[in-house]
Each structure stands twice: as structure tokens, then as C-alpha cells.
Symmetry: C2
Subunit: 260 residues, 2 copies
């Protein structure tokens, strides 16, 4: 089973690239982030014509996630509140969470808030959001021990995940509070699929559009697949496909594919 995660930075702008990629990389589930489109305007047909089942959870202009699955998913769930009914529904105003089950594995597709600048209101939102995510996963784990949690985490857990031109000290996506919040989540029983196979630096999944960052490989590894033990043991590979980042008008993120 192959699961891919890809922040496409607008599905409508990236549609042709995503469809081409899906044609050449026949993954079982493609997890999209930053679709940036309300559900009624999501381009479903190109995916159904390829034989995929799209499950979408979007909003206008910002955020938005989707699961594109080669077979129908079971128990698809949009947002936090579907799993945490007592949660303040404000946490679902931003569409950042969608999940569904395939072959007994729950795929949790996340677009973690970026956080803007350390100490900002958005940073506090990010930390709060990660606390909610932990509760959400705790609940899911009760009925779904096999989870592949993937997406754009906007967090690089280790310094090796960040190019060394960056002053990591107190940098958004690398600050201690957000790293600790993510570690708290992983402590529920998740492990990084990519690091099962690769302990090298220089492997990134996101490169800023500015300052020719991709050409100089000044990237960050912030798109992840985190697996619960049984799935982690089964995992056979996890790779970052940087080819789409080389195209004209690319997303700033590259897809990451795990096989288990």
C-alpha cells in the first residue's frame, strides 16, 4: 500500500501537475493539503476519471485538505469535532483535518498551522491546535490502532531536517515549544517513516519560493508520515519525490510517499 502526502498550494492551479503525477505514481491514497477551494469548486472529475475516489474538506482561499483514494475509504471523517464532539467548533473553522480507513489502516491527513512568527497569535493557535490534535489522535487510537498520520506539519523535528543556512535558534517551524508539542503527539505511539530508511541530512520536502531556495537545496523536511507500530514495522520505503518541484509553476512542497 502506497500513501502519498503533498501540499499542492492550490489544487486548481496545480491540477494538471497533480493529475500527471498521479498517473505516473499510482499511489493508493494521495493526501492533499492547501487545496484552497470550497468543496463545490473542487475539480472532482479529473480524479474520478483516473479511477480515484476523492474526499474533500475545503474552504475559500486558505487551507483545505483532501483524500484521493484508489478504492473507496471507510469511515471518512472531516475535522476534529467529528471525533471530539465536545470540542469548541471554532477549531474546525479552518479546514485542516480529514481522515479515512483503507485496509484497516486509518489515514489521517493534516495541514498543521504554519504559526507565522514565534509568539504571534498564529503561533499560539498552532500550539493550541497541536494540543487538540493530540486529543483527537488519542480518541482515534481507541478504535484505530493502525494509523498513518501524514501531511504538512510545518515542523522540522531535528536540526538535520533543516538546511544549515537557516538560523534555527527560535525559528518558526523549529522552535522548542512546537517541537515539544509534536513530540508529545508522537509519544502516543508514532514513528517517522522517513527516518526508518534514511538518516542523512539534505533531504527536504519544502523549499521557499523566495531566494531560489530549491536550486540551492535550501529546504526543510516538514512533510511527514508518522506511523503506529504495526504499520511502522510493515513499512518498506519512504521517499521524497522532488521531481514535481522542478516543474514550471510548482508547489513549494514535494510529495512524500510511504509504502507499507
Amino acid at each position: 500500500m502506497k500513501i502519498a502526502t503533498w501540499n499542492v498550494n492550490s489544487i486548481r492551479t496545480r491540477l494538471e501537475q497533480v493529475i500527471n503525477w498521479l498517473g505516473e505514481n499510482s499511489v493508493d491514497v494521495l493526501c492533499l493539503q492547501e487545496t484552497k477551494v470550497i468543496d463545490k469548486d473542487f475539480p472532482l472529475n479529473p480524479f474520478t476519471e483516473l479511477g480515484y475516489y476523492p474526499y474533500i474538506y475545503g474552504q475559500k482561499a486558505y487551507n483545505g485538505v483532501a483524500l484521493i483514494s484508489r478504492q473507496p475509504l471507510e469511515d471518512v471523517s472531516m475535522g476534529f469535532t467529528a471525533v471530539l464532539p465536545d470540542l469548541d467548533p471554532q477549531w474546525d473553522e479552518q479546514k485542516r483535518v480529514i481522515s479515512g480507513v483503507i485496509d484497516g489502516v486509518r489515514i489521517v491527513n493534516l495541514y498543521v498551522p504554519n504559526g507565522s512568527a514565534i509568539g504571534s497569535e498564529k503561533y499560539e493557535y498552532k500550539l493550541g491546535w497541536l494540543k487538540v490534535l493530540r486529543e483527537y489522535l488519542q480518541t482515534l487510537l481507541l478504535s484505530n490502532p493502525e494509523i498513518c498520520m501524514c501531511g504538512d506539519f510545518n515542523i522540522a523535528l531535528e536540526d538535520i531536517d533543516i538546511n544549515d543556512k537557516v538560523k534555527i535558534e527560535n525559528h518558526i517551524m523549529a522552535s522548542e515549544s512546537e517541537r515539544q508539542a509534536l513530540r508529545d503527539i508522537l509519544s502516543l505511539g508514532f514513528a517517522d517513516a522517513f527516518r526508518k530508511f534514511n538518516n542523512e541530512g539534505g533531504n527536504y520536502s519544502w523549499w521557499d519560493y523566495r531566494t531560489a531556495a530549491f536550486k540551492r537545496n535550501l529546504g526543510w523536511r516538514i512533510d511527514h508520515h508518522y506511523l503506529t507500530p504495526v504499520v511502522y514495522e510493515r513499512a518498506q520505503s519512504c521517499i521524497i519525490d522532488i521531481e514535481p518541484r522542478k516543474l514550471e509553476k510548482p508547489s513549494d512542497h514535494a510529495p512524500v510517499i510511504v509504502e507499507f
Copy 2:
């Protein structure tokens, strides 16, 4: 001597097309309209690198004209008030007029207001603007008997200049008042270079972006070269080059080239 006029609908968006065209069509002066950029942001280098001298007169977002000349121009003049010092300077808030002399011929490059809808405030502005233009030309003619007045006139003088899908009756760009205003100007001693060589219909210089107008050749001939007698007599050709209109992301206007 070859003079071209081209409403490029943003020089920054069309830069590559314009530079390519200029490389393949080595005109002596290229008159641009709707550059849509303030002078400090006008891309001068691509033109100077081709050996051209750019003279620019622009504003933010709207209008803007430029003369791109293979040799330095003499007596370059921006706006109406440079020639009509007593004129209300409000007439130069919109950057629509630039002129300069080459080999004794004054090139007057114009972007005539579109006028929006008949009877609208913008329509009245167009008619007023054309009256000012007449005064401007009268003054210029005192010292420059040889004039090539060209640009986007946003007026089709004859029904033959308009595709027959258009209800010409009271259509902007074809109404009697604006046609009469233009005829009043031409009566100063200008003749249409294009009609010296071609009396056929179906020759257009502008096609609406909508309704696949170009594919169906539903255009208008609204970009003109008007010449004073000596220049008119010397004129050897006047053609509309529709090739650029076929490109991806074209301007809605095609260049018109006169040779004299």
C-alpha cells in the same frame, strides 16, 4: 522608416512577447499603449539590450504609453500640457500621450480613452479628451508638419472596420459623436495609412478576449496610423500583424506597422 503601434495590455505581462516581436520585426519606432506601469518599474533593460531607446510615460495600473526607438528621438514630449501649457493639468493625470521626432517626422503615440458606455461619464471624458487632442495637434502642426499619429484610438471610423456580428448602432467605439470628434481631428490634415493600401473589410486590430472573438475573427480595427500629407504620400505599406494575437496569453490588440 517603419513605425509600429501596439496596445500590449501590460508591458510587464507581455514583455517576452514584445521583445521577441521586436527582435523579429526591426521597426524604427514601436509605440506602446497600456503599459500599466509606473516609470520606475518599466522594464527598460530588455529594450536597451536590443539597442533601442525607450521613452516612457506611465502610471500605476492603468494607461501608460511608451516610444521604443532604434535611434534617439528628438524633442520628446509627454502629455498634453507640455504642448498646451495653459491646459487644465487634469488632462494629464491619465498618461495617454507621448511624442517625439525622428528624421523630421513627429511620432504622436496615443491611447484614446475607451469611453465605457455611450452617455457615461467616461464617454464624456473621451469626447472632451478628443477635443483637447485636436488643440494639441493644431499646436504641434505649427512646428511639425510631418506627423505620424498612431495608437489605440478606441474608435472604428467606418462600419467596414467592425465585424458584422456587432450591433453598430450606438455602440461604444462606433457612435456618431466619437466618430465625428475623430473626423474633426483628421480634418486637420491626416489620412488613414491602412486604407491607402487596403479597402477590404475583415481587417481588425483588436478582438475581445471574450467569446473566442479572435478565433471567429470578430474584431474591430481601432488601432491606426494617421499621416499628414507628405508622410502619407511617402507611405509604402501598412499592415496588421495578427501573429502575436495567436500566442498564449496574448494582448487583445495586434501590432499595426506603417512604412514610409
